[in-house]
């Protein structure tokens, strides 16, 4: 089935937003991801964007958390991962292809420090490893995180719970 660019664009925009929420939530609830974040310089801004695509996802490291930046925030990215086309972002965000393999296949370019990119990719891998079902994560990652399924379920529940709580907090009064 052919999926048009317009649909891909909507899906990518939605997933970038969800990814931002998941990263923010995991950075407050997952000890492994928090430990990884401690290696980031304070205030680091990281972006994930698509050439000619929807608004980019940008997060800033504050303490040992990641905080999403508003669209109009003037911050400049210290590290930016840019997909060359919306269809390449679609491949990755539908978990048909992992970040490392997408980079290996030149679907995205890095702007910034490669060491910082390594740490951020580990954060993405960790997030995907815990919040995605194993059969999906196996397609997206080089290797699955070594953690017992009970821990995986517990961490995923905390991350999704946090996202749900945030959604409720910001939902209009009548929608709660």
């Amino acid at each position: 089935m052919k999926i048009g660019y317009g649909v891909q664009r909507v899906y990518v925009a939605t997933l970038l937003g969800l990814l931002g929420e998941l990263l923010e939530a995991a950075s407050t609830t997952d000890p492994a991801l928090r430990a990884e974040l401690r290696g980031f310089p304070e205030g680091t801004v990281i972006g994930l964007s698509v050439l000619g695509g929807p608004a980019p996802l940008r997060v800033r490291k504050v303490g040992d958390r990641l905080v999403r930046l508003e669209r109009d925030d003037p911050a400049v990215c210290d590290l930016e991962l840019v997909f060359k086309h919306v269809t390449h972002a679609f491949l990755v965000l539908t978990f048909q292809e992992g970040t490392a393999r997408a980079y290996a296949r030149s679907r995205l370019v890095l702007h910034g420090d490669p060491a910082l990119a390594m740490r951020f990719v580990r954060c993405l891998n960790r997030l995907e490893g815990v919040v995605l079902p194993r059969f999906v994560a196996r397609r997206a990652l080089k290797s699955l995180p070594r953690l017992p399924w009970t821990e995986k379920v517990a961490v995923a529940a905390r991350v999704y719970g946090r996202v749900a709580a945030q959604a409720l907090r910001f939902a209009p009064e009548g929608a709660r």
Partner: protein, 394 residues
């Protein structure tokens, strides 16, 4: 259909073989360069390797180029700023790098400053920061290993922070690489072996890592075959000019291969060993290569097995059962490593380098997992796994 995709880019003109140096005046004229700055180090200059370059230029009616020969083995941001100052003061219009990896990387960095402007090369550090073509850069390698004459990367030491700064951009690719056997004839045996094993590692990692593609595979296997065929004969007969040229070609081919498919675990570990213990890069590659291949076996058994053909030749390949080719490839690399040790004293383990202490291994492991090369490795590597591998290589 497979979702596979690759890009391949190498616009460098390779000028290689007998009397290649004498082609340099023509190449300079073609790109409109009248006054190149010759960048080199004192060792290369004292070994008399700049003289034939100057003679080749003067004999074609070009003036002797100004020379900057203060490049140290690990070049830094300060050296680059100083060389850029000389370039501007002397009114140069291109760069001529005569030397090994440090000289070539310094020349690329100087080219960034004199083309893009400014005095602080750190402003251009990182991936894809440069935005336009640089001044003409001509490279004459005096070692056969780094492949830097055809790569889009450079690494410098930040003189203030003491850390290594990587730069990656297609605009860092030189314009012309001149491979003349006269430039490597007097390379000492251990350096010949170490730099050749650096090239061998470039080719092997290009062949097994995530960005491997049909074109880089062709360059990688051609490079491996040349090193397997010519390294030991050259060590036995150092004046073998044809053998020297084959090793230079191998290094260039390996450089083209890894510039288009990147490297992996061996380089991630090797960069960190070099940073912590100051072990020369080629020595690190020689020591770590078999251990890293063993680590990657579960993900790359078939590709590693395919390397037996260029490494061992068709007879060895044909008589080795397919399921044992990967292990045989690694065994042959170990045998080559032992022969190089016997011929030149090239270390076989981290302990034999006498520069690495066991208590440094945890720090090396921690640095390794942040190395960008690991992104392209077929398997993820965490700190514990890196440490185990380093312990085995010690």
């Amino acid at each position: 259909m497979s979702t596979s995709f690759f890009e391949f880019y190498c616009p460098v003109k390779v000028v290689a073989g007998f009397k290649a140096l004498e082609h340099l005046p023509f190449e300079l004229r073609t790109l409109g360069v009248r006054r190149p700055l010759l960048v080199t180090d004192r060792g290369v200059r004292e070994a008399g390797l700049c003289a034939p370059v100057e003679e080749a230029l003067e004999s074609a009616g070009l003036p002797a180029p100004p020379i900057f020969d203060a490049v140290p083995p690990d070049s830094s941001t300060r050296v680059v700023a100083e060389a850029a100052r000389v370039y501007r003061e002397r009114g140069c219009d291109g760069l001529l790098a005569v030397g090994g990896g440090s000289v070539i990387d310094t020349s690329k960095a100087v080219n960034v400053l004199v083309s893009e402007g400014g005095d602080d090369i750190r402003a251009y550090s990182g991936t894809s920061v440069l935005t336009g073509r640089l001044r003409p850069l001509f490279v004459l390698p005096t070692t056969s290993g780094t492949g830097s004459e055809v790569t889009n990367v450079l690494v410098l030491v930040d003189a203030d922070a003491g850390v290594k700064l990587p730069f990656v951009s297609q605009f860092l690719l030189p314009d012309v690489a001149v491979l003349d056997p006269r430039m490597t004839l007097r390379l000492p045996p251990q350096l010949t072996a170490a730099t050749a094993m650096d090239a061998m590692t470039h080719a092997i990692e290009a062949f097994i890592c995530l960005s491997k593609n049909p074109l880089s595979d062709a360059y990688a296997t051609a490079a491996i075959r040349r090193i397997a065929d010519h390294l030991l004969p050259v060590l036995r007969t150092p004046s073998d000019a044809q053998g020297r040229l084959e090793l230079s070609l191998a290094a260039t081919m390996a450089g083209i291969a890894f510039s288009n498919s990147m490297v992996g675990l061996v380089h991630a570990l090797g960069h960190s060993v070099g940073a912590v213990a100051r072990v020369p890069h080629g020595v690190c590659m020689n020591v770590l290569l078999p251990f890293a291949l063993e680590f990657n076996l579960p993900a790359r058994r078939e590709a590693i097995g395919e390397l037996l053909l260029p490494l061992g030749g068709p007879d060895v390949y044909a008589r080795t059962p397919a399921e044992r080719r990967a292990e045989t490839t690694i065994a042959r690399l170990r045998a080559l490593r032992d022969e190089l040790h016997a011929h030149t004293g090239l270390p076989r383990t981290l302990g034999e380098t006498r520069q690495v202490r066991r208590d440094q291994l945890p720090e090396i492991a921690r640095l390794s997992v942040d190395d960008g090369a690991l992104l392209m490795n077929p398997l993820d590597v965490d700190v514990d796994q890196a440490l185990t591998l380093l312990e085995r290589a010690f």
